[in-house]
Symmetry: C2
Subunit: 351 residues, 2 copies
């Protein structure tokens, strides 16, 4: 099969972890006789520095015409504490999500047997966790009207949802639930927010189309608590953009390491695959970042292309590296560790 993959390395450790995923994908392509054409493109602070724009038009063209996008990370500390910065790397991320129509962020949360004791949570609470959070990604308060009034002394942001946006996301949730344990939880703040009431109303109306799926409705504050207390209580969660932002990061604690958690952002035409960790600027250029989350994101890419064997092969080799301790320092418990690039080479050569 021929695959055109847009390659957005981004900022910080982005380029380093992306490099390893490329090695792994190339090894997969070789083994299974595919042909991958990589289309590198600029994004984030790197793009601001080069062309003054965090998601340039050329980058969009490349992504829109690709079969999939593989993404590293963006963000640079020099923008973080400067509320007045006009152009910010994150704007690129948001513009990209919107222009590519990446409406559903899919974040699986699971534990690795060999790493379970790294979690701040007790083993018995998390062992066997296997849940998916589906975060709406192109609507809500991220994209509503915002601004200032009263000489800048009042600021506002608008959380807006349209029924079709909720339906589209919920449909993915129901579909996932049907393939899994048939349990769906809609997380909102319907006791306060009108947009959450529209969520509930919309999802309730869809229940009849999925009679086998058991649907529950919970408030975001309660879920922020229960997700940590008993993650095995959840299977598929659907939620709005802002709530999903918070819950998915919180859920990453369960696995004990952000360095392992992949994600996909699904659009109607093209989808994007990225590790959930950020650009981790402190580690940039040191060849120490953990590439596994990016590599596992590539596995999600193959999975979505119905290349199940290829996806399985990647997961197998990742598990092998964990079992044999061929890992970066964050997972090495002070024992022997390997460089980012060494881990990438090892994974590729074991395929």
């Amino acid at each position: 099969m021929k695959l055109n993959i847009a390659l957005l390395a981004g900022d910080g450790i982005g380029p380093e972890v992306i490099d390893q995923a490329v090695k792994v994908c190339d090894a997969i392509a070789k083994k299974y006789e595919h042909h991958i054409t990589w289309k590198p493109a600029l994004t984030g602070a790197a793009a601001i520095d080069a062309v003054g724009e965090p998601y340039p038009d050329e980058t969009h063209e490349i992504c829109a015409n690709a079969d999939a996008v593989l993404f590293g990370a963006i963000g640079h500390p020099r923008f973080d504490n400067d509320p007045s910065a006009k152009v910010r790397p994150e704007q690129g991320l948001l513009k990209m999500r919107q222009k590519l129509g990446l409406f559903a962020n899919v974040r699986p949360t699971f534990t690795f047997p060999s790493l379970i004791d790294k979690s701040p949570l007790k083993r018995e609470r998390i062992e066997g966790t296997d849940l998916i959070i589906l975060r709406e990604l192109t609507g809500g308060i991220y994209f509503g009207e915002r601004g200032r009034k009263d000489d800048g002394n009042t600021a506002f942001d608008t959380m807006t949802y349209q029924r079709f946006e909720i339906e589209r996301l919920a449909k993915k949730g129901f579909d996932f639930a049907m393939k899994r344990s048939k349990k769906l939880c809609c997380v909102d703040k319907a006791n306060v927010l009108e947009s959450s009431r529209l969520w509930r109303e919309t999802v309730q109306a869809m229940e009849k189309d999925y009679p086998e799926v058991e649907v529950s409705y919970e408030f975001i504050d309660a879920v922020a608590m229960r997700l940590i207390q008993w993650p095995k209580g959840y299977d598929v969660i659907i939620t709005a953009n802002l709530f999903g932002d918070i819950l998915t990061d919180e859920a990453s604690v369960i696995a004990g390491s952000m360095g392992l958690m992949p994600s996909s952002s699904v659009g109607s035409k093209v989808s994007l695959y990225e590790p959930i960790h950020g650009s981790y600027p402190q580690a940039a250029g040191k060849d120490i970042a953990n590439p596994l989350a990016t590599v596992l994101s590539a596995a999600m890419l193959f999975e979505d292309m119905n290349m199940t064997e290829e996806a399985e092969e990647i997961r197998r080799v990742v598990n092998k590296s964990l079992a044999e301790g061929y890992v970066t320092e964050d997972l090495a418990d002070g024992g022997k560790s390997y460089k980012t690039s060494e881990v990438g080479d090892w994974l590729a050569s074991n395929i």
Copy 2:
């Protein structure tokens, strides 16, 4: 001293836990020669049933003229999954916060040595946790304009903040920080929200008035993660209404039991004291609910009245009940447990 305390028992287990706090306060009054006049008033579903309104005017009069308000819990499941219910118990809570001007919700999070192993988090992660979350309580998306458009197919909510609302809350945060370890963390989503950028701007401008306080700024998604990974990294957190709603509930996991965590909601005239747990309808009327969070909320009440000894005495007797296992079934680990009312009697008689 003479104290007039408005008593809002509310729904579910509210009345039962409030009764125990009254016993304890009366015992304190007797020991320290105070005189407490209790002014019971209706709120929540109980008030809807009685007078069609979750926060009736008479209740407001009683609260506004009291020295303090002691509050149980409100909420009833029959309203939860009915997006069309016109009158909801929670509206009473929100109206009360707004009309009484309870702008700062103060939620301490700490661990009890005897209960530390109840936490889903590992002992070494949480032992010694002592943080305070200050949640803005009368602004933000809870009180902005909301509604429907396009024949009900679009819903919106507005998150609005004015500079003075942020200043008022932040000032309390700086004051707490000065009395504690001089560390303040402002939690927001300034990489996306304009209102968060106003938060950052406002707090940054206040830094010069508190040169001793070390201020940090973190994003809500990152904090949702770090709070669980390493709660000892935080001392005083200030944040907006919605973010605080989520973070305070999440933080309650640290202590291992919601049944223990008190809170206050501070206004410029009168303040309110309540357990952080909800109305827990499944347990209502069974005399099994844990009253300690409400009792500890009463301790916060005395503390704020500068009755430090009285507050300490309440905490002492609560610790004694924990140490001696005179507790409700939720804390008894399958061992001997006591009824809600028995725990209240025991606490009162040990004062």
